[in-house]
């Protein structure tokens, strides 16, 4: 814990205020993403409520982090923002245009505005394409017909992610590159179409600890240079501080706490956030013998979520007949620090 807050001060969050823009780039409004379950391939058997009522605004050149354990719906949220899934209910507005209404060329235009950095860099690159081909594909698809222009943009992007000399890499296949280099190619590909928003899905979780910081710094530098908005998705709070300003904590398809990163780390409000912070790894030899408090139980079923607060079966502070009966609204016990928990009513 100490280590986290200690580095956070010297990290990204400090100068965030200057970069914040007033205008909203992306607005997610009461978003629901449900997947229908089928019995025997046709009968209806309920829904998996992967995302169940998430609302937030993202401003130009702002970074938010979405934190949560596996299966909490953060990937579904991200994929819906990338227009890979259709929302079941609710809207996503990008520069005041509703994503649900976009079709054909408009949708492609939207997709070119949003870059995608994936978790597994090796899987994210087609194994049978050279680096050059991988980088050319998005440009070909988005109608950049001039070969010289493609080549120039591709070289520029490669240099931005510090893959130089560029010619050493262009004809290589992904399996000839190291994990860090692969992730740089993925980032270069996301940057090629000059997006306004980058969605980064656990971009460093599959990398060696030694290259994680480099990649995070690279993303940070690119964000500063191009005034990018970034949605950074992770399960690991210790990497959030590198370049995030605001954090959402997601649990069972819902945002349970929204706050600035420093506030969250200094003063976590939701019992789930507390547990998550307690579980964050610290490079301390004493930890090997120390017992950690892990909330009992498992994440709830998303098909039949618990009534009331979804965390109540695991919550140490559960209030009977309230937490298990009524869904908590968002309370604001501190300025800019929202929490969905009855403890703060």
């Amino acid at each position: 814990m100490n280590a986290i807050s200690g580095t956070a001060q010297g990290g990204a969050a400090v100068n965030s205020a200057e970069r914040r823009h007033d205008e909203v780039l992306l607005s997610v409004q009461d978003l629901h993403v449900w997947f229908e379950l089928r019995r025997f391939g046709f009968g209806h058997a309920g829904y998996v409520r992967a995302v169940d009522g998430v609302t937030f605004d993202l401003h130009y050149s702002e970074t938010i982090a979405i934190v949560g354990e596996s299966g909490c719906g953060k990937s579904s949220l991200m994929k819906t923002i990338l227009a890979l899934h259709r929302p079941t209910k609710g809207d996503i507005l990008f520069e005041n245009r509703n994503l649900n209404a976009l079709k054909g060329p408009e949708l492609r235009e939207y997709r070119s505005q949003v870059g995608y950095v994936q978790q597994d860099p090796y899987g994210a690159l087609a194994p049978f394409m050279t680096v050059q081909r991988i980088l050319e594909e998005p440009m070909i698809i988005n109608g950049i017909k001039d070969k010289a222009e493609r080549e120039a943009r591709l070289r520029n992007a490669m240099e931005e992610v510090k893959m130089s000399p560029v010619d050493d890499f262009l004809q290589k296949f992904p399996h000839m590159l190291s994990g860090g280099q692969q992730q740089r190619v993925v980032i270069a590909r996301a940057m090629l179409l000059e997006p306004k928003l980058i969605v980064a899905d656990e971009p460093v979780s599959m990398l060696d600890a030694s290259v994680r910081v480099e990649i995070l710094k690279l993303l940070r530098a690119l964000q500063d240079k191009h005034n990018l908005a970034v949605i950074y998705i992770t399960h690991d709070l210790s990497t959030v501080r590198y370049f995030s300003e605001r954090v959402f904590v997601m649990y069972a398809g819902q945002a349970v706490e929204k706050s600035l990163i420093n506030d969250l780390i200094r003063n976590p409000l939701h019992p789930y956030t507390m547990a998550l912070l307690a579980a964050t790894s610290d490079p301390d030899a004493d930890n090997a013998t120390r017992f950690r408090d892990v909330p009992p139980g498992e994440p709830p079923s998303l098909v039949k979520p618990p009534k009331g607060c979804r965390f109540h079966p695991r919550c140490p502070h559960m209030i009977k007949d309230l937490c298990d009966a009524e869904e908590p609204p968002h309370f604001e016990p501190e300025p800019q620090h929202l929490v969905a928990c009855w403890l703060y009513r």
Partner: protein, 449 residues
């Protein structure tokens, strides 16, 4: 391009694959040569031709090179034509009076085989207005005996068959002329008397412009490189033309079915839902349909053209069991993050199928395709053996079918079956060897990625 070069380099590591490639190239060269040397229409004309084309060829003669393996030397066919000046025929014309003329042909030839010929025929063509020339034939043996054969009035087109001349048979005391005329009179068992024989044809023409030409054929018991069949046809034609047909049938069927099947599987997996269901149900129904009986019905009721059958083979194979295999692989590939990335930067459905799904499966496809070729080559042969072969085209399967229909094995005419069978085996072996090597080359790489 680099991948191709690498594949070739890898292939060179396998001696069996090199042998296979050499065999395939040899077959392709043979096919190309055949198509230029004997054009398609010419091949069909020859193969469908009767006595007018194959008259000078022996019936059911094994190839000439079988002499290497037999103690008794078999005779080849001897043809002496008076039209052909170089063939050792002399023609003397002696006018008797104003209208009548003596025309004397002398045919001489060496006979040094140990076996009697199959048959002997003289073909005559005469030119006359009203009265046809009168012809007498004489046989002169190496030891100087002169045997009168027979007399015949030469019509515009006259054929004198030695063994059908009743009077000659009576004169030879019932011994077949091809034996009696060549036999050594000193020996008790009929033995060939070797040496130079002569046939003299003496004709009298009765008109001023009347003339006569005559061709003598002594049919051997061996012939050429490949031998002949029951209709005197040279098997070389069918063996040669079988090559391009087998290659075309095998390659077209293998290529079209493999590629189409793969594309259908990819489309089904990518679009999912109703499309996938429909494709899977069609495949399952098609898998239950009996393949061969349907082809037999097509052959019986619709057409026996090899190209119609090829179309049916392709149609029935497109929704084949391999769709299931490809589908399983595609299902896995479909979930790959790079496909998701492609969608996120706006790749269309078809672009994803063609540029992202299909290239991943090509390593599995190529060995399968190459190994699939012989299956279709054999299928074509099997259909022909079942009597569903193209009635026009000479193919390897047709040869086996003809041989079978004429009791070739029962009669000991092994060459008739073994020659096409050997070519079929070579074709199968060549593709199989390359296919196995490709499998070994591609599959570890597949596991690695």
């Amino acid at each position: 391009m680099n991948a191709l070069k690498r594949t070739f380099k890898d292939i060179s590591q396998y001696p069996s694959a090199i042998a296979g490639v050499v065999l395939i190239l040899a077959l392709v060269a043979l096919a190309v040569y055949t198509m230029f040397a004997i054009p398609y229409s010419e091949a069909i004309r020859l193969w469908r031709g009767g006595e007018e084309i194959w008259g000078d060829y022996p019936r059911l003669a094994p190839p000439a090179w079988t002499n290497i393996f037999t103690k008794e030397k078999q005779p080849s066919t001897i043809v002496r034509d008076s039209v052909d000046v170089d063939s050792g025929v002399t023609k003397e014309v002696k006018p008797i009076d104003e209208t009548m003329t003596d025309v004397i042909f002398t045919y001489s030839f060496d006979y040094d085989a140990d076996v009697f010929p199959q048959e002997m025929i003289v073909f005559m063509t005469a030119a006359y207005q009203e009265k046809a020339p009168f012809v007498s034939l004489f046989w002169i043996t190496p030891d100087g005996r002169e045997i009168r054969l027979g007399e015949v009035t030469a019509k515009a087109s006259e054929t004198y068959r030695f063994n059908q001349d009743e009077r000659l048979l009576r004169r030879l005391k019932g011994v077949a002329p091809e034996v009696a005329l060549f036999a050594d009179p000193e020996q008790e068992t009929p033995t060939v008397l070797k040496g130079t024989y002569q046939l003299r044809i003496a004709a009298i023409t009765f008109e001023e412009n009347s003339d006569l030409e005559a061709k003598f054929v002594s049919y051997g018991t061996v012939h050429g490189l490949a031998g002949t069949d029951h209709r005197r046809r040279d098997l070389t034609i069918a063996l040669l033309w079988g090559t391009p047909i087998a290659l075309a049938f095998g390659l077209v069927a293998a290529l079209v079915t493999t590629v189409t099947t793969m594309v259908i599987a990819a489309v089904g997996v990518w679009f999912g839902g109703v499309v996938d269901d429909l494709i899977q149900r069609i495949t399952e129904i098609n898998m239950l349909l009996p393949f061969l009986p349907i082809l037999i019905m097509v052959g019986t009721f619709q057409s026996r053209s090899i190209w119609v059958l090829l179309l049916w083979v392709i149609l029935l194979s497109i929704f084949g069991a391999s769709i299931k295999g490809y589908r399983a692989t595609f299902m896995q590939i479909k979930e790959a993050p790079y496909i998701e990335a492609a969608r996120s930067y706006g790749a269309s459905n078809w672009r994803i199928i063609v540029s992202y799904l299909i290239p991943r499966i090509i390593p599995v496809l190529i060995p399968g395709l190459v190994s699939g070729v012989p299956a279709y080559v054999f299928l074509e042969a099997s259909l022909a053996v079942l009597g569903l072969g193209d009635p026009v085209l000479p193919t390897w399967g047709k040869l086996i079918n003809d041989a079978y229909g004429n009791g070739a094995l029962y009669n000991g005419q092994y060459y008739w079956i073994l020659e096409p069978a050997l070519l079929l085996m070579i074709a199968g072996l060549a593709f199989a060897m390359v296919g196995f090597a490709l499998d070994r080359i591609f599959n570890p790489r597949l596991r690695e990625v």
